[in-house]
C-alpha cells in the first residue's frame, strides 16, 4: 500500500520581498515605452499638485514674511457707524482707557483735523486731492512699525511748532519728493514746513493719504478741539483676540457696541486666503489629471494581465500561489504610480523653482506637497492595480496556460 504523507511535508512556496520588487520592476522594464506613457498621467497630476502648492506657498511667502515683520498684533479702534448709531465718536478718554489694559503694549491715537492742506495758497480751498489732515503723537510711527522715507517724523519738540509729515500718497499728490530746507505747504490757512515724508503703511493705508501734524500744534496753531478718531494699539501677540474683546467695554462702558475694533492684518491674511482659493481650482484640475492617470494605469494593467496569461500560467506551474501573482501585479502598478509620482514631483518642483525665481519670490516647495504627492501616486497605483491583479490571481493555471 502506498504511503500517503500529510500535507505538511510540502514546504510552502515563498516569494521574497527582494524578488517581489525585482519581478515587479522587471515587468515594467521590459515594456519601457508603455511604462513611461502610462506613468505620464500620474506624473502630470502630481506635477500640477506640487506646482500649485509650491507656487502658492512661494508667492505667499513674501506676503507672510511682511506680515510677520509688521506683526499681527496691531488693532485699530474706531467709533462704530452701524445702524441707529449715527456718527458716533470715541470718548476723549479712549486712548488712556485702552492703555490701562494689561495686555496692551503701545497705544497711539490719531484725530482728524478739520482743515485743508494745499500746495500753495493760490489753490482754491477744497481742492485737497483727497488728502486729509490728522493730528498724532510722536509715538505713532513706532506703533505702526512705519518708517520715514525722507526727513524725520514728528518729535516732542517739533510738536510745538507748526510742522507736518506727509504720508506717501499725500506727498506724491502734493508733488513733494524730498524734504530739504524750506518745503512748505499751505495748511489751515498758514504756511507749515514739511519735515518728513513717510514710506507706505501696510497696515494703515489711510495714513498714506494724510498730512500728519502734532497734537499740540493742532491745538495751538490750528485751534482745533481734538477727539480721537482712530486709536492704534499693539497688544500681546498671544492674547490678541482676548484683548480685542475687552476693548469696547473699556473705551465706552455704556455703549460698547458703538466701538469698532479691527485687525488690519486680517485683510492681508484674507488676501492670502483668496490666493489659496484660486490655487484650489488648479488643485482640482491636478486631482482630475491624477484620476485619469489612475484609470490609465488600470487600463494598461488589465491589458498586461491578458497579454501575460502564459507567464501567469508558468509562474503558477513553478510554484507561485494566487497571492504571489496578486503581489507581482500589484507591485507593478504600485511602482508605476511611484515612478509617475517621482517624475511629477521633480517636474512640479522644477516649474515652481523656475517660475518663483523669475518672479523674484523665495522658492518654497512644501514638504506636504512632495510627501503627499508621492503617497497619492502610490495609493492611486495600488487602487488602479487592485482589480487587474485580482484578475491575474484569479486565473486558473490551466486557463492561463491554454491561452494563445
Amino acid at each position: 500500500m502506498t504511503l500517503v504523507r500529510t500535507a505538511e511535508v510540502v514546504e510552502p512556496s515563498r516569494f521574497r520581498f527582494r524578488d517581489v520588487m525585482r519581478v515587479g520592476s522587471s515587468g515594467l522594464g521590459t515594456r519601457r515605452g508603455r511604462t513611461i506613457l502610462s506613468a505620464l498621467g500620474i506624473a502630470i497630476g502630481i506635477a500640477a499638485l506640487v506646482g500649485v502648492l509650491g507656487l502658492s506657498e512661494s508667492s505667499k511667502s513674501d506676503l507672510l514674511a511682511e506680515l510677520d515683520a509688521l506683526g499681527t498684533n496691531l488693532l485699530t479702534v474706531q467709533a462704530g457707524t452701524g445702524f441707529g448709531i449715527g456718527n458716533a465718536e470715541l470718548p476723549e478718554t479712549a486712548s488712556s482707557m485702552i492703555g490701562r489694559i494689561g495686555t496692551v503694549q503701545q497705544v497711539s491715537a490719531v484725530s482728524s483735523v478739520n482743515v485743508d492742506v494745499l500746495r500753495t495758497d493760490f489753490i482754491p480751498s477744497g481742492q485737497t486731492g483727497g488728502i486729509s489732515v490728522v493730528a498724532a503723537e510722536s509715538d505713532l510711527l513706532e506703533t505702526l512699525n512705519g518708517s520715514v522715507a525722507s526727513g524725520s517724523f514728528l518729535t516732542e519738540a517739533a510738536g510745538e511748532y507748526p510742522a507736518v509729515v506727509l504720508g506717501s500718497v499725500a506727498a506724491e499728490r502734493l508733488g513733494i519728493g524730498e524734504v530739504g530746507d524750506g518745503v512748505f505747504v499751505w495748511l489751515g490757512e498758514q504756511w507749515v514746513e514739511v519735515i518728513g515724508v513717510l514710506e507706505p503703511f501696510v497696515l494703515a493705508a489711510d495714513l498714506d493719504r494724510a498730512a500728519i501734524v502734532g497734537v499740540d500744534a493742532a491745538e495751538d496753531f490750528l485751534n482745533q478741539d481734538l477727539a480721537p478718531g482712530t486709536v492704534y494699539l499693539r497688544v500681546d501677540p498671544d492674547l490678541v483676540n482676548e484683548t480685542r474683546e475687552l476693548i469696547p467695554r473699556s473705551v465706552d462702558p455704556e455703549n460698547p457696541e458703538e466701538v469698532e475694533v479691527s485687525r488690519p492684518s486680517d485683510v492681508l491674511v484674507a488676501q492670502a486666503a483668496a490666493e489659496d482659493a484660486f490655487s484650489s481650482l488648479f488643485l482640482g484640475l491636478g486631482a482630475v489629471a491624477l484620476f485619469v492617470g489612475g484609470i490609465g494605469i488600470a487600463n494598461i494593467m488589465v491589458i498586461a494581465v491578458i497579454e501575460r496569461r502564459g507567464e501567469i500560467g508558468l509562474r503558477r506551474a513553478i510554484g507561485a500561489t494566487r497571492t504571489h501573482i496578486l503581489l507581482q501585479f500589484l507591485t507593478e502598478s504600485l511602482l508605476l504610480g511611484f515612478f509617475g509620482g517621482v517624475a511629477g514631483v521633480i517636474l512640479g518642483a522644477a516649474v515652481t523653482a523656475g517660475y518663483a525665481a523669475s518672479q523674484g519670490w523665495t522658492i518654497i516647495i512644501p514638504t506636504i506637497a512632495v510627501t503627499g504627492g508621492l503617497a497619492a501616486a502610490v495609493a492611486i497605483g495600488a487602487v488602479a492595480g487592485l482589480y487587474p491583479a485580482m484578475r491575474a490571481a484569479g486565473l486558473s493555471p490551466t486557463e492561463a496556460l491554454r491561452s494563445e
Partner: protein, 237 residues
Amino acid sequence: MSRDRSGSPVALELRNVVKAYPGTPPVRALDGVSMVVHPGEMAAVVGPSGSGKSTMLHIMGTLDRPTDGSVLIDGVDTAELDDKQLSALRGRKIGFVFQRFFLLAGTTAIENVANGLLYSGIDPTIRREMAVEALRRVGLDHRLTHVPSMMSGGERQRVAIARALVHSPAFILADEPTGNLDSKSSAAVMDLLRGLHDEGSTLLVITHDDRIAGSLPRQVRVLDGRIEHDNGVLSLS
C-alpha cells in the same frame, strides 16, 4: 519516496482518475485512468487530439483537480492539499516543459532558469549557481547571458528544460516539447531528454507524435479518456 505494492518507489500515481466537465451530457475527458510512474522511468503519453492527454497533463501536473479518483505525487495525496499547498507541490516536485517554452522576454537564460527556483525560498545567489549548473547539463553553458530573442527555438526549449530540472523534481512533465521546433531541433531536444533519463531523471512526455512516443522506453496510449494500452509496468488498483 513512496512505494507501490511490489515495493518499488513511486514518483507519480493516478488511481481511477475521472475528470468530467459540466454540460449536457457531461463530458468525461478522463474516465477511470490509473497508472504508476516509477523514479527513473521515461514514458510517453500519446494520443490524438481530443483523446484526453491534455487533461492528463493538467491532472498529473496538479494544475487541475480530478472530479474523482486520486493523484499522488511523490507519495503526497494531492486531494488533501489546498490551492497554496498545490502550488508549493508543483514548485518543488514537478518540472514543467511546455510547447511554447514560456521564457520571459528580455531576461537572460540564467535568470529564466533561476526563475524555476523563484518561489522556493532559496537565496538568489545560490539560485543562480544552480541555474548555471542546470544550463551546463543541457549543454548551454555558452549561452548563460543570452536573452530568448538571441537564441534558436531548440536553444530556447533547452533553457526551458534546464528550468524544469533546476530544482531536481520528482519528475519532469513535458507537453509537446518539440511541437514548435523543426525536425533537427526536435531530434536534439529528444536526445537531450533521453540523456537526462540516462542520468536518472524521471520524465513524462505528452505527445501526439507516434514516432516520438515510439522512441521512448514506455508508451501510454490514451483514447477517449481511457488508457488504451500501456507497455510499462502496470499498476493494479
